[in-house]
């Protein structure tokens, strides 16, 4: 069976992570921000799976399971917050949430 260089998998994860980061930093629509966060989490999961494949162990997959659980919980709470925000401000622009300005 052909082999895959392990760094290629990790680099793919890094690229996905960076794209997600750009998304988080650039978008003003909070739904897109949340989606970009999902991309970043997913990239983290990918890195764990690559690690699991590198050692041939199942532990990496278990970590991925934890991440997916975390993502599910985070999305649930995050979407709840978005709904609440939309109800209050009638917008999805995260810049309106700047009351913490010092």
């Amino acid at each position: 069976m052909e082999s895959i260089p392990v760094e290629h998998g990790l680099i793919l994860a890094a690229i996905l992570f960076s794209i997600g980061l750009i998304g988080v930093l650039t978008r003003r629509n909070i739904v897109f921000v949340l989606m970009s966060l999902e991309i970043m989490l997913n990239a983290g999961g990918l890195a764990f799976i690559v690690g699991a494949a590198r050692w041939g162990h199942a532990e990496g997959q278990i970590m991925f399971l934890m991440i997916i659980t975390l993502a599910a919980a985070e999305v649930a709470v995050g979407l709840g917050l978005i709904i609440q925000m939309f109800r209050r401000y009638k917008t999805v622009d995260i810049n309106v949430l700047s009351e913490m300005k010092g």
Partner: protein, 614 residues
């Protein structure tokens, strides 16, 4: 029953707690029962304990209640020590204290702060008992500061008048000077002798220090500092006359009968230390002599009835110090006791006079009161006779003993003796000046009294104190085992007759001036020298003026220079720096989520950079 000695301070303390915790919500008669009753119970207990103690014939008795604290080898406890000295003090405090409490139930009847007054009084009695019964200097110091606190609270009792608050602060601050010296003395004693238990400490001092040892001198001097502060002796005497701002029963209890004699008690209690430092002991005598003469001269010129009595108190405590100075320990304590009787009597009677005249204190606005105020008249008559050491009144025995002992002392003994006799002469003049002006002559009162103020609860204590003032000298004070037997000094009959006659001459002179009006004060005051002397004495030998210049004004000057607070400006700088830094950093708190995310990412970049570089 002696085991129950801890009950003595407990009763008034419980009374205090009950009155404080109810915060004036109790009806007045309940307050009176708690306030006076707790001290009465204390007196009953004290009397029974005293009877049993005297019957047992033991020299001392110790009751250990609990250990206060244990730090290394330092374990002061709430332990009570009873011997002849503390027995006398305990009976005087509870006995005279009870009578004054009883009197106060009538005197303060119309005061809105009735409950507060009795709570302070009870706390005072508890603290004072702690002071005289404690077996170690730490407990003594606790009581010492406790009575100082109560004195402060009670001088400023009518706090709505700022003058009273000022007098209270003055008393507190001036006595604090002495207390600081005393605290230093305690530190010195503990550091050198390793214990503050009074008896152990005295034995250790006797064993370790020879007579005239420098440390003994230092310790005795520091304790003397505390004693002169509390007992209003030179040079810390200035607070006592102002302390008369408090209610009259306070002046009787705290500033005449008990608290101001704490200094005498302290010196008598640690007399072994003073015997190890003969120079300091002699100094005690000098302090007493100068104070008693000075206070006598001042009393001649005062016009406020309570201030005259205050200076008289100062003068009489001067006699006690004189007695301590010449080593006549028991005579000093005897004078303390008799003085408590007759001075409490005089103060309480002056309280009746003041109330009957609707709060008039100026003796030149009184006069011709002997028929209107018979109880006060007889109180003053007997009290004044005892004060001037009229033969066979209580004051006679104690003062007699003191002067004879002074006569027997080598060195400055003769000065002490003749000074003391001259002081008695002054006492005769100023006491009967007060007496004649207030009770004879024509009435100059703005509101002449219709009748004498007070019911049985005020007159009863006066009558009892009258009896005590007269016969108090016959009470045998069980002090001999404590201070050792003194060789009885005898003086010639002629000298003794002279000694007895001098105060009588003083009375006679006073009578010539103020009763028979043979001589006239106006004529005496005609010269400008006499007037300036009068002014000088009236201002208390200018001590207030002097201390103002020496301490208060320099301090105010320093405070004015340092108004900008040099030290604080450093901390102000810290504040300024923080504020400036805040001004800069607060800009990063834009409130935009993406800005924060960007900052996190930047931080991550920096961290990874560092990680890669390393």
């Amino acid at each position: 029953m002696q085991e129950l000695i801890w009950l003595l301070p407990t009763y008034p303390l419980l009374g205090f707690l009950a009155l404080v915790l109810t915060a004036g919500r109790l009806p007045k008669n309940v307050v009176a029962i708690i306030g006076a009753g707790s001290v009465g119970l204390s007196f009953l207990t004290a009397a029974i304990i005293a009877a049993q103690f005297l019957a047992s014939g033991e020299e001392y008795f110790i009751k250990e209640v609990w250990t206060w604290m244990a730090v290394g080898g330092f374990t002061p406890g709430f332990n009570f020590y009873l011997d002849g000295l503390s027995l006398v003090m305990m009976l005087v405090i509870t006995g005279v204290g009870f009578l004054i409490h009883l009197y106060a139930t009538g005197y303060m009847a119309d005061d809105p702060g009735y409950s507060r007054f009795f709570s302070y009084m009870n706390l005072f009695v508890a603290a004072m008992l702690m002071l005289v019964l404690g077996d170690n200097l730490v407990l003594l110091y606790l009581g010492w500061e406790g009575v100082g606190l109560c004195s402060y609270l009670l001088i400023g009792f009518w706090y709505t008048n700022p003058d009273n608050g000022y007098a209270a602060r003055k008393a507190f601050v001036v006595t604090r000077v002495g207390d600081t010296a005393m605290a230093l003395g305690l530190f010195l004693l503990f550091a050198e002798l390793g214990t503050l238990n009074i008896q152990d400490m005295l034995h250790a001092a006797e064993a370790e220090w020879e007579i005239g040892n420098g440390l003994a001198v230092a310790a005795a001097l520091l304790l003397l500092g505390g004693a002169v502060g509390k007992s209003a002796q030179l040079p810390l005497q200035t607070w006592l006359p102002d302390a008369m701002a408090g209610p009259t029963p306070i002046s009787a209890l705290i500033h005449a009968a008990t608290m101001v004699t704490a200094g005498v008690y302290l010196i008598a209690r640690t007399h072994i230390l003073f015997e190890l430092a003969p120079n300091v002991q002699e100094l005690v005598g000098w302090v007493g002599l100068i104070t008693l003469l000075m206070a006598g001269f001042i009393a001649l010129t005062q016009s406020d009835i309570k201030r005259i009595l205050a200076f008289s108190t100062m003068s009489q405590i001067g006699y006690m110090f004189l007695a301590l100075g010449v080593g006549a320990w028991s005579a000093g304590i005897l004078h303390l006791m008799t003085h408590a009787f007759f001075k409490a009597l005089l103060f309480l009677a002056s309280g009746t006079v003041i109330l009957s005249l609707h709060h008039e204190q100026d003796i030149f606005k009184m006069g011709a009161l002997r028929q209107k105020l018979p109880v006060s008249f007889f109180s003053f008559l007997l009290g004044s006779l005892a004060l001037t050491a009229f033969p066979y009144t209580s004051g006679y025995f104690s003062k007699d003993e003191i002067l004879i002992a002074a006569h027997g002392m080598e060195g400055p003994g003769m000065i002490f003796f003749y000074g003391g006799v001259f002081g008695a002469f002054l006492t005769g003049i100023y006491t009967f000046r007060l007496f004649f002006i207030v009770f004879f002559g024509e009435s100059k009162a703005a509101h002449p009294p219709e009748q004498e103020y007070g019911g049985w609860n005020m007159n009863g204590p006066l009558i009892l104190l009258m009896i005590l003032s007269v016969v108090g000298g016959f009470i045998a004070v069980p002090l001999d085992p404590l201070f050792g037997d003194h060789e009885e000094h005898h003086i010639s009959g002629l000298l003794h007759a002279f000694m007895i006659a001098v105060p009588l001459i003083g009375i006679a002179i006073s009578a010539c001036f103020f009763y028979f009006k043979i001589w006239s004060v106006e004529k005496l005051m005609a010269s400008s020298f006499a007037q300036s002397l009068h002014k000088f004495w009236n201002s208390g030998w200018g001590f207030d003026w002097l201390y103002d210049r020496l301490f208060v004004l320099p301090f105010l000057w320093l405070a004015r220079i340092n108004r900008a607070d040099i030290i604080d400006s450093f901390y102000g700088l810290v504040v300024e720096v923080s504020r400036a830094a805040n001004g800069m950093i607060v800009k990063t708190q834009s409130g935009y989520l993406r800005w924060y995310a960007l900052s996190i990412a930047a931080g991550l970049v920096v961290l990874i950079t560092i990680g890669v570089m390393l």
